[in-house]
Structures are given as C-alpha cells and as structure tokens.
C-alpha cells in the first residue's frame, strides 16, 4: 500500500532528528529570508548559551552562504557565473559543531572554475588565506550583484575548517553544487 503523505512527513521529521537538522529550506533565497533565518538561529544559539565567538561565526557563515545563493539566484540557463533558480539551505548541529549546507545548480562550463577556486582555497594555510583575502579586497571588483568573491575565503579563514563540496550531475549541462561549512562549538 502506498504511504500516506502524513507517514512521509513523519519519516521526514525522523530523518531531520537523526541528522540533527535545525533548519531546512528549499526555494528562492531573498534578503528578507536571510534576515529571518539568521535572526532565528541567533536567538536559538543565545537560548542555548552558545559562546559569543561561536554565535558570531555561525551568523557570518549563514549570511555569506545565503547571500551566495540570493545574489546568484537566476533562472537556469542564464550565463551567470554561479546560479540557481532555487537553492537549498540546511543548518545542523551536533555536540561538536554546527554545519551550514547549501545546494544550487551550476552550469557545466562554470563548474571547473568554481571547483578550482574551492580546491585552491582549501589548499591554503591561514597566512596565505589572509594574503589572498587582502589581494582580492584590493583588486577584486564588485560584481553587479554586489558579490566581492570573498565569501569562501573568509569562511575558511574564520572557521579554520576546509569546505566540503560536491558536484552532482543533474542534467546534460548542469551540476548540483553542494557545499558544507563547519563551525566548531569549542571556541
């Protein structure tokens, strides 16, 4: 017999519990939504007496990841660098760390550029990341959507954790780009 929607909803809830997911969203990411999600997570962290340093880092990673999606939220098929008509956004938390995960579609020919950039950032130590950030801030131009190309560099240098990412082929000319940033709760 086919499962009812309510059964599915309960299983979905159990899966969320199992993976310690505190927030999950699929759809268009707007600035209003960014403000709502960050403020919700802030008040939860504050209730749980998370340290100020952890709260600020989680807030920052959420802002950067959500703005990454919202600034590149074009329709599939545009020529924009990194885009997604819609994205997914997940925040999870275990005893040791917070994880902020995003997913959105990227065009075939942009994938290697993005992959090279992330591999490069992941290969750098703190000092090299600081140098790259300074260089990018001085020389990088703001895109017409206000992206400075600094978000990924800053996430890695401030969390001290490398980015986990994966590109899943979803269509002929399209990959689904998944990215997780982790923030240790012991700081």
């Amino acid at each position: 017999m086919e499962k009812s929607f309510l059964e599915f909803a309960y299983e979905f809830y159990q899966t969320m519990k199992e993976h310690k997911i505190t927030l999950v969203y699929e759809g268009e990411v707007t600035h209003q939504l960014t403000k709502a999600f960050t403020s919700l997570t802030e008040s939860n962290m504050s209730k749980e007496e998370e340290s100020g340093a952890v709260q600020k880092k989680v807030f920052h990673v959420m802002v950067e990841c959500l703005q990454n999606i919202s600034k590149h939220a074009d329709d599939f098929g545009s020529n924009d660098y990194l885009y997604s008509g819609k994205g997914i956004f997940i925040v999870s938390k275990d005893e040791n760390e917070y994880a902020v995960t995003t997913g959105n579609a990227v065009d075939n020919d942009k994938m290697p550029i993005l992959k090279n950039m992330l591999d490069h950032i992941n290969s750098l130590d703190k000092e090299a990341l600081n140098e790259l950030y300074k260089k990018q801030m001085k020389e990088g131009l703001l895109s017409d959507k206000g992206g400075a190309g600094l978000g990924f560099i800053d996430i890695v240098r401030k969390t001290g954790n490398k980015l986990d990412f994966h590109f899943l082929p979803i269509a002929n000319n399209l990959y689904f780009f998944m990215l997780t940033s982790k923030i240790s709760r012991n700081q």
Binding site: T34, K35, K56, H60, K134, M137, K138, G146, A148, L150
Partner: protein, 126 residues
C-alpha cells in the same frame, strides 16, 4: 556642508558624517541587501568633504558585524581617507571592536596593514 546621518538598522550600519561637529562614524551591523547603493552616498559625501577637509579628521569605525561585501566598501572608505592624508591632511582612524571579538580586532589590524593611516585599536564592551 550638510551632515549625512543614517540611523542603523538590523542590517545596515548607523552613519554620522558631520563636518560641523567634526564627527565621522560608522557603527553597528553591515550586511545590506545592496552594498553599493547603501555605501555610495557615504563615498560621495566623503569625496565632497575632502575637497576642503577640517584640519584634523578622526574617523571612527564601531562595527559589531560586517559581511564580506561590506569589507570591500570599508576599504574604499579607508582608501579615500588615505588619499586625503597623502594630500597633506591630518587623518586618523579609530577602530573600535567588541572586546571579545578576535575577528573584528583582526579586521582592524588587517586594514591598518593595507592602508598607510594611523590606526588606534580600541576594545569596547558590547
């Protein structure tokens, strides 16, 4: 010249640029939806102020948070201050940071390494 005063919100910083009172300050949180449209009036005001600046300009940053897009615009402000100093004016920067916020403290140090301006690094209680 007219002062530029913007009240801070949950995502945009408070701005006081008042040549009459000699107060130049940006404070609070900065993660605007559109950084360029937020900061352009600030940069335009500074451009016109620097045509005839006060004998001494003390510019204060008292930010509790800024996103990476804002970091680029903060550098744009600092570079204009540096130009003004290079033109022979007395310009200093007061970088206030929450006392327990290492990242905000480091950001001040980082900026002071990029621009040739005198920085005072000042912790404050949030």
């Amino acid at each position: 010249m007219d002062a530029l005063m913007l009240k801070g919100t949950e995502d945009t910083p408070g701005v006081i640029l008042d040549a009459g009172k000699g107060v130049f300050e940006i404070s609070g949180r900065s993660l605007p939806e559109d950084v360029l449209s937020f900061f352009n009036p600030v940069l335009t005001w500074l451009d016109s102020y620097f045509k005839s600046p006060l004998p001494k300009t003390e510019f204060s940053f008292k930010l509790s948070y800024f996103n990476t897009a804002s970091s680029k615009l903060i550098l744009d402000i600092l570079m204009r201050l540096e130009d003004c100093k290079n033109a022979g004016n007395n310009v200093t920067v007061r970088w206030h940071y929450p006392e327990d916020d290492e990242d905000m403290k480091d950001a001040g140090v980082e900026y002071s390494e990029i621009v040739a301006l005198d920085f005072e690094h000042l912790p404050y209680k949030e």
